[in-house]
Symmetry: C2
Subunit: 224 residues, 2 copies
């Protein structure tokens, strides 16, 4: 699955024809294209790369290039069929599958994530929440009973969790991440202000409020 397969030119090797590594930049734009498509009026059957580009804030050539990796339902002179492209992106993004999500840490941020509609919306099921605080363990949040983090490995395995969200203090983040990975999780979303070191086959995304503020702070200093 990780190898780069190319057309053999013999025409028989169809299953192998399409396997190239697509950049994270491209992948990160797909949800934005999808969102843009979802905002299009039901009566509009096609949309152009120009329209998608405007909606997402990128170049139209970028849109066509990004979509070209996925044999998109584009018609020259016409545009992309909205429905078909939406379905394609959903499929490619794996949104036709349910994802079972665990969240570690139910402080203010963890609770906000747990209650965030965007999660449950698109096929992401938060199936368990963990904390260390005896005052929080056993509480019910959004239908989830907060479990003792001591049970992490067992529960993550039992519930077949595929995505782990880390909303612990920075000091605990690495250890919790390691435990997620040991329990089989291969996708981690890290809200703690720390850079996680994990195996290269584990996908980590970082969402870091204080870093974002500091970047804005830099640009404040560059104004006028």
């Amino acid at each position: 699955m990780l190898t780069l397969a190319r057309a053999t030119g013999q025409g028989t090797n169809l299953a192998l024809v399409k396997r190239r590594r697509i950049s994270t930049e491209t992948i990160a734009r797909l949800p934005l294209y999808l969102r843009c498509l979802n905002e299009i009026n039901a009566g509009q059957l096609t949309c152009s790369s120009d329209e998608l580009a405007a909606g997402v804030g990128v170049n139209a050539a970028q849109v066509r290039k990004d979509l070209s990796y996925f044999s998109p339902p584009g018609v020259r002179g016409v545009g992309y069929r909205v429905d078909a492209l939406r379905d394609l992106l959903r499929t490619e993004l794996g949104l036709t599958e349910k994802h079972r999500v665990a969240i570690a840490g139910v402080g203010n941020l963890g609770r906000a994530i747990l209650l965030y509609p965007g999660c449950t919306d698109a096929g992401f099921d938060i199936v368990v929440a963990f904390d260390t605080d005896p005052l929080r363990i056993g509480a019910t949040l959004n239908g989830i009973v907060v479990d003792d983090i001591a049970n992490l490995e067992r529960v993550v395995r039992e519930k077949a969790v595929t995505i782990g969200i880390i909303a612990t203090p920075a000091g605990a983040a690495q250890a919790v991440a390691d435990r997620f990975v040991a329990a089989g999780v291969r996708s981690v979303l890290n809200f703690a202000p720390s850079v996680l070191k994990l195996r290269s086959d584990v996908q980590v995304r970082r969402v870091d409020l204080s870093t974002e503020l500091q970047i804005l702070s830099y640009h404040q200093g560059q104004l006028g």
Copy 2:
């Protein structure tokens, strides 16, 4: 301030010697280097680019290149002086100034941000919160009285807000952003799931939970 100045070779034009545009990628790593430095034991006086690279998960050459834009306190054969480099990064990031922050939307996410210690920690003062909901207006959160968003322009001006955080539903985000900008805000942190279109002199950072989950979903599909 936006022009590219170069050394004249005459030696007199010192004020203009150092002005180049530094990439957002580089700027975005500075807070990580700073955090890494803050975690270093007080007894350790210097640190190498290797050590910073390991802490931040990048190449050591990258670290040296990034820091080289700021005349860092590095000594060949020795490393960077920890204290001096920390001070330098704080200064360059503008963290020696106070930033006055407004937040629009005090739903679950807005409240979590308001209560997030990382904000207040590093010189970011949340000075006002806005909402449309009469049930929320007037409530006190973390010492801030929630104001009616109808007053946004006036209050943002009065309190000299420099950074606006958007934690509204997606449908309101663009309008609120436009109002922030009209009131003089030039840095916006957008937590709503939408791509804002703003003047090019306004710096926008997007933090988008559902997009992040979808990116992880894609990579789940690529696993073995």
